[in-house]
């Protein structure tokens, strides 16, 4: 065995120059996204956005052609370490892109940190990814759960609301979002009188809606996504609460779900780092290109995928394709202004976007931008020692 | 009757109630070593309930059970079995996927369970192996020892039931219709076996085959609707007017 190991090491030593040569070969991008299950459509949107940017660059980034390797993460954190290892150890990807589910992203962050592989998170908002887990090789093109929630807290307080109730699924993302809202709301002089939660993945809200009616708060803040968001918005309207107590939410409440929610979502206010009618030349160009390529309207997930590719592009260009120069890569990304369809943004020291959070209102089938709720909002990045 | 017979199992005023129905009503009986005590009665007379209470599968709602002089009314079935109570079932309850020998060996193992000795091969257990060999031979199944029990004929399965019962080396045998569904030849063989076992055991026999019962039993108890209407020697029972009316008359 020892003999074999020595010969293996020797073989690696010989192969090392070959590996160097790879820096001018294809750039391998490992997409670890959900392609099955509840978040499948989000995974597809992110991939579409990513590919769109790469296509716009002529299929090359930093002078290197892009090769994709895909893994379905099934939104299952218990399989996440194996899945990400597949990309890192088997396929030897140069950069990891993923994922949607926070638990999966946490597992990815650990592997990325341990193996010193570049990781760009295109959605998962877990505060810890750019908080306690922050690292020079970990970037995020999306948001932290704290960001839109904090902005919404400020908005609610500014609108004169004094007493708020929050409601969310009982899981980390929901808790983080609710905390963000509380922070913003209480800073503006409001008070959260009760945090309600539904066990994940139950979507039976009726009991808590009755509770809300009994509490009679000035405003309700909520964090739901996907199927639960659709059901919550419909149930909220059907229970007659929409007329009397304004419902505010993190933007996912009404993103990608408006078709399903129909009239029940009309006029809802949400905050997010993207909106449907920004009407900037940059965004219009993006939307046109996206619609042309995929015969679909883009959403916030597509933008996040697109910007993940931009981050990769900026860094890779700066190191001229040599991704081993992690420090230079990070430095370039940290200094760059990323020209996102959502509006230009920069990355914070912890590598999370410092971005405008928009206040949006549902009009028809669109999340129309009303105003900038919070200008260049940066996540506090608690626990980040970088 | 001899003086001071050795009573191994005694039922004293046993009753069992199912809701409003009194399935067994204050039944008392003694089982002595060296005798066969038969319980007969129509279907639904409460024979099976009685045997289940004696073996401990059912707890009685009234009365008590004594095994070898001890009150065992509150004992579980396994505990009674270990104390020397063996039973066979009306329907075959063998382990069909095991060999005939393994059926008996597993039964014998109950005497020396030693479950903590996980590194020892069960087939290296001298006590259960010896008991199994003996019981297989006694039941006349030696030639079929390595056959899967499920492949035996019906009569052979009944024999295996008895063999498994014997493997635990009981003092008391509770046999629930051991002759059910057997041909004439098989019945004859079984009766020989029972006669042989009789001397060393106290046997309770629940049986429908009247000829066999009157041939082998030393004492017969007749049950109707959960109560004992007659109990005594075969001659006494045969001549009892109540039995003639209630049971044999209908037969």
């Amino acid at each position: 065995m020892n003999l074999l190991r020595t010969s293996l090491i020797a073989a690696c030593a010989i192969a090392a120059p070959l590996a160097m040569a790879q820096n001018t070969g294809k750039l391998k991008v490992g997409l670890m996204l959900p392609y099955t299950g509840t978040y499948a459509s989000l995974g597809t949107a992110i991939e579409n956005g990513f590919r769109l940017y790469v296509t716009e660059q002529g299929g090359k980034i930093g002078g290197r052609e892009i090769e994709y390797v895909k893994v379905d993460d099934e939104s299952d954190p218990s399989k996440a370490t194996d899945n990400v290892n597949k990309l890192v150890k088997r396929d030897h990807v140069d950069v990891l892109v993923g994922s949607v589910h926070s638990g999966v992203a946490m597992a990815m962050a650990k592997v990325a940190k341990d193996s010193n592989t570049l990781l760009i998170v295109p959605n998962a908002g877990a505060d810890a990814v750019t908080g306690s887990m922050c690292a020079p090789n970990i970037f995020r093109s999306s948001f932290t759960n704290w960001q839109p929630a904090f902005a919404m807290g400020e908005v609610a307080a500014k609108k004169g609301a004094k007493r708020a109730v929050t409601i969310t699924h009982k899981y980390a993302a929901g808790d983080e979002s609710v905390h963000g809202f509380r922070e913003g709301f209480e800073k503006g002089g409001g008070q959260v009188i009760k945090d309600l939660s539904v066990p994940f993945p139950s979507v039976e809200f009726q009991a808590l809606l009755t509770e809300i009616a009994a509490l009679k708060p000035d405003v309700v803040y909520t964090f739901f996504a996907g199927g639960a968001a659709v059901k919550f918005v419909k149930d909220y309207a059907a229970a007659g609460l929409k007329k009397s107590i304004p419902l505010y939410g993190a933007g996912f409440l009404t993103d990608g779900t408006l078709d399903a929610q129909g009239a029940d979502a009309a006029d809802l206010l949400t905050t997010l780092h993207y909106a449907d009618s920004l009407n900037t030349p940059r965004d219009n160009a993006f939307r046109l290109a996206y619609a042309k390529t995929y015969k679909l309207q883009p959403d916030v997930y597509a933008v996040q995928g697109y910007d993940a590719a931009q981050i990769l592009s900026i860094g890779t260009n700066a190191v001229k394709g040599d991704l081993n120069k992690k420090a230079e890569f990070a430095l370039a990304v940290e200094r760059a202004k990323i020209d996102s369809p959502r509006g230009p943004f920069m990355l914070s020291r912890s590598h999370n976007p410092v971005q405008d959070i928009y206040l949006r209102q549902v009009v028809g089938k669109e999340n129309k931008m009303l105003s900038v709720a919070s200008k260049a909002l940066a996540d506090p990045a608690r626990g980040c020692k970088m | 009757m001899m003086t001071a017979p050795e009573v191994l199992l005694r039922a004293d005023g046993l009753s069992r109630r199912w809701g409003g129905l009194l399935a067994v009503d204050r039944v008392s009986l003694d089982l002595q070593r060296g005798t066969v005590h038969a319980v007969i009665g129509t279907n639904g007379a409460g024979k099976s309930t009685l045997i289940n209470m004696l073996s401990g599968e059912l707890t009685p709602t009234g009365g008590r059970v004594e095994l070898l002089g001890q009150d065992v009314t509150q004992w579980s079935q396994p505990r009674r079995a270990r104390a020397g109570l063996g039973r066979s079932y009306q329907r075959n309850t063998i382990y069909p996927s095991f060999t005939v020998f393994e059926n008996c060996r597993l039964a014998a193992q109950a005497r020396t369970p030693r479950p903590w000795a996980w590194w020892q091969d069960a087939r290296q257990c001298p006590i259960s192996m010896a008991a199994a060999y003996a019981s297989v031979e006694r039941a006349g199944l030696t030639d079929l020892r390595e056959l899967a029990a499920g492949l035996l004929s019906h009569g052979q399965k009944r024999q295996l039931e008895i063999a498994m019962c014997l493997a635990t080396e009981p003092d008391v045998l509770l046999l629930d219709e051991p002759l059910a569904g057997m041909g004439a030849e098989e019945t004859e063989r079984m009766l020989l076996l029972l006669a042989e076992l009789k001397t060393s055991h106290a046997t309770l026999l629940v049986e429908h085959d009247m000829d066999a019962v009157f041939r082998i039993a030393d004492c017969i108890t007749v049950m109707v609707n959960g109560t004992v209407i007659a109990s005594g020697t075969p001659d006494f029972v045969r001549n009892s007017p109540e039995v003639r009316v209630a049971y044999l008359g209908e037969h």
Partner: protein
């Protein structure tokens, strides 16, 4: 057990032992994880295949073993394997004892559902409370050490250690199943009523099986946590309890090698249908292939994958009359 079966098992273990010599780092990692699931499947096989107790909450033991490994590890340095490993198994075994003591009062489908209930309770404790890091999971920062002998942070030692555990568990279970205890469990599976009539107090036997099974699942959980360095509530979810059940049914109930075969086959099938090299863009619909092959295996292999050699012989040679005695099932492995 037939001689060919023993040969198969020996060859399989030999292949596993030699695998790291030829494998890529990823392959070593992957097979390590499959072996962990092999141990997990073996633990369930003791209950389902050998004792006839269909437990639908096995993931709880896995999760408790894994969480124990993480939560009991000191923050400031690596723990010693010598106490952390037994402690994790003990934690899982203790929960199994509790769960078994109550759920063994019920039978059949009710038993299945009560075990599910108890595993869901454990799931919600880690899912809904900050105890184990909540839904985002928790990291194992310092992997346990055995002096300087074993560095479980590296792939090959981890592989070797897992392989050793698997081998030990397999041998242990094989011995247990042929011991008096194991034969009594087999008797309970086939005919519990008869066992009681013969004088076996079946409840403590079943409870002991439950506890052993839980502790072994806890071992799998410990290995999982050490290998990944990350545990998450999903480890306790009913999906995983279901998947491991699927593994052992797929492999073939009543055989220890069936559990191993099932764990490997289940992983390989997923790997195969997820492979973009073979299916291209359709690989994202890998559930379809997996589902169809499971359905096919039910249709063609009534006794699971362990039956494959016999089925092949049957197809090649045509049906043969069985010589008397071949239907015997002397010892399950």
């Amino acid at each position: 057990m037939k001689r060919t079966d023993i040969l198969f098992i020996v060859l399989a273990f030999a292949a596993l032992a030699l695998y790291p010599l030829v494998a890529e780092p990823y392959g070593i990692d992957r097979v390590t994880k499959i072996m962990v699931f092999g141990i997990f499947a073996l633990s369930l096989e003791l209950l389902v295949g050998s004792t006839g107790l269909v437990c639908f909450g096995q993931a709880a033991f896995l999760g408790i073993g894994a969480y124990a490994a993480v939560l009991l590890s000191p923050q400031d340095g690596p723990a010693s394997l010598l106490w952390l490993l037994p402690a994790s198994m003990l934690a899982a075994g203790a929960y199994a004892l509790f769960m078994g003591a109550l759920s063994l009062r019920t039978r059949g489908v009710y038993f299945i559902m009560v075990t599910l209930a108890f595993s869901q309770m454990a799931f919600y404790v880690v899912h809904d409370t900050p105890l184990g890091g909540g839904t985002d999971g928790i990291y194992l920062t310092n992997k346990p050490m055995l002096g300087t002998l074993l560095d479980l942070d590296r792939s090959v030692p981890m592989y070797a250690f897992t392989f050793g555990c698997l081998l030990l568990v397999f041998v242990f279970l094989a011995l247990v199943l042929r011991s008096r205890f194991g034969r009594a469990l087999a008797g309970i599976r086939v005919n519990e009523q008869r066992m009681r009539a013969t004088g076996f107090p079946t409840y403590p036997y079943k409870l002991a099986a439950f506890m052993i099974s839980g502790a072994i699942a806890g071992l799998a959980g410990f290995l999982f946590a050490v290998k990944d360095g990350f545990v998450n509530p999903e480890l306790m979810s009913w999906h995983l309890s279901g998947e491991v059940l699927i593994m052992i049914i797929l492999g073939g109930l009543g055989h220890l090698r069936g559990a191993l075969l099932g764990a490997f086959a289940f992983a390989m099938l997923q790997e195969f249908f997820k492979s973009e090299a073979i299916f291209g863009d359709f690989a994202k619909h890998w559930h379809l292939g997996l589902g169809l092959s499971i359905i096919l295996s039910v249709a063609l292999l009534p006794r699971g994958l362990v039956d494959v050699p016999q089925q092949i012989l049957l197809r090649l040679l045509g049906p043969r009359p069985k010589p008397p005695g071949t239907a015997t099932q002397k010892s399950p492995p």
